[in-house]
Amino acid sequence: MPAIETRGLTKRFDDVVALDGLDLTVEAGEVFGFLGPNGAGKSTTINLLLDFIRPSEGTAEVFGTDVQADPLAVRRRVGVLPEGYGFDDRLVGREYVAWAARTKRADDDPDELLARVGLTDAADRPAAAYSKGMQQRLAFAMALAGDPDLLVLDEPSTGLDPNGMSRLRRLVRERAAAGTTVFLSSHILSEVEAVCDRVGVLRDGRLVAVDTLDGLREGLPGEATIRLTCAELPTGGLGVEAIDGVTGASVEGRTLVVTCRDPTVKAAVVTHVAARTEVVDVVSEPVSLERLFADLTGGEDGAPRSAVAERPPEDLP
């Protein structure tokens, strides 16, 4: 039985179609990344799965239970880190976690849960006074309470510092290793790449791709990069730019970095360079995820900043 199954799931707000006929199956035990730029419909999907909002059309099931017919049964098996939560009550962190555990009829020790997310020192402070990152950890601790069968995490790394992010990833991997299904939405590629078995890419309310990351890299056109370390300085790039399919070349010390329109061009590049100079090493980099994401979600203009390649290409000397 799949952990999540949606059929033709559609949500319209007035005139806006937030989600358009989503057919998605997440198998039990997998870590599924739900990827897309802001406003693509990720949170809408999660809110539908939790019965916070009701579909205009279509159905959603969690572990075989229709989410509208029995939201309580769904919530009993799911740990949620929702979007747009707030800690407004005059309660300290420990009390929030204790409340979550009690409501889930779980016997977790709140202090142990807080320790897992690194909030031990803040346990006795009002949650309303926490920083965004700390609140995110607290909400995550509440989601972990009761060891749910499915973790639904909406943009879990929002507000987290690098330490918090790596802790989050470790916890997600731990839970996954213990058999928990994880469904996490993100617009940050590195996060998805670090923990997910499969990803679904959402664009303007439509699912544009579902595959493993490797499968996505192979199946889609995108830039491939090849790095050739030469025995001598590859002056002028050795004319690789003339090769059909090469989109750019740069020199970093004795290394020639060539970007190709698609992976099939790489062989031609190696042959070309080897005929002109001694090649010491060849490193082929997979299709850059940033590139892939931009391709899938409508170009860099439509993508958030984090999706833009971090290293600008260097010009040839």
Binding site: P82, G86, R90, E95, A100, T103, M142
Partner: protein
């Protein structure tokens, strides 16, 4: 019963609100001071105390709805606006659990505050006048609680269908104006307007029972009638005068007991509608 968890968490939160404690203290001090200053001239203490409680009913009728509305007007909408609802419904709670849990916690809060004010008043009365009509005190407490419950229920029902603070305030103020002010202030009283239409505009013969029945539709009138059920005979208010020269008895629907029906309708109908609506809307 996760609605108990909802209510318990809400009460823990509310019990730490300084504003609520301050409000409870102010109201308690005011009624206790009033009870202390109240004196009779050449009257036996029991009569002084009886009059005191009869006057207190009028204070309750006007002030208690305000307190109940202030305590409850953001019970659900506040959670929705502040993001608490995402946490509540992310846990194994149904929407009904949240709705009824919030209703329960706000009712308990008002019941506790009311008990405080009544206990303080009773103590002052006992110390000052040496007598305490225990039955009347408990009776008035029960009537006040029923009256307060109507407004708590109404506020929770309204707040469940409202998404913003501004609208919640407007709904609370509106409820008070329509249900209390429109029945308490003489010139704009609904019953007076109906009478004016009936007799002045349409030129029909007076229908005093109709005007009274219209007036009775308000919980404000109902609480004054309900108080008659528990006050000593000498202190009962004549809310609806018997028609001059008419029969000695008012119709059943204008009797004191009928106030309980009025309370029940005002308590159940808004709450049921609010729940019905809350279970159907998108909560984001």
């Amino acid at each position: 019963m996760s609605l108990v968890d909802v209510a318990r968490k809400d009460l823990t939160n509310l019990s730490r609100s300084r504003a609520l404690w301050a409000m409870a203290a102010v109201v308690t001090l005011l009624v206790a001071t009033y009870a202390y200053l109240n004196e009779g001239y050449r009257q036996p203490p029991s009569e002084v105390v009886g009059r005191l409680f009869a006057t207190l009913v009028l204070v309750v009728a006007v002030v208690l709805p305000l307190v109940a509305l202030v305590v409850s007007y953001r019970a659900v909408s506040g959670e929705r606006e502040g993001g608490g609802l995402a946490l509540l419904l992310g846990l194994p709670n149904t929407r009904r659990d949240v709705y009824l849990g919030k209703l329960g916690s706000r009712l308990l809060l008002v019941a506790a505050g009311l008990a405080l004010a009544f206990a303080a008043t009773a103590s002052v009365v006992r110390a000052r006048h040496g007598v305490l009509p225990v039955g009347t005190v408990f009776g008035l407490y029960a009537v006040s609680l029923a009256y307060a419950a109507v407004f708590v229920g109404l506020a929770v029902a309204l707040s469940a269908t409202i998404a913003t603070r501004g609208r919640a305030i407007a709904a609370g103020v509106g409820a008070y104006l329509v249900l209390v002010m429109l029945f308490a202030v003489p010139v704009v009283r609904v019953s007076a307007i109906v009478r004016w239409v009936d007799e002045g505009l349409l030129g029909l013969a007076p229908h005093p029972y109709l005007y009274d029945a219209v007036s009775y539709a308000s919980p404000y009138t109902a609480v004054r009638k309900a108080a008659n059920l528990v006050l000593p005979a000498a202190q009962r208010a004549t809310v609806f005068p018997r028609p001059p020269g008419g029969a000695g008895h008012l119709p059943l629907y204008l009797g004191d007991w009928f106030s309980l029906v009025v309370f029940a309708v005002w308590l159940v109908v808004p709450l049921a509608l609010g729940l019905w609506r809350f279970q159907r809307i998108d909560l984001e």
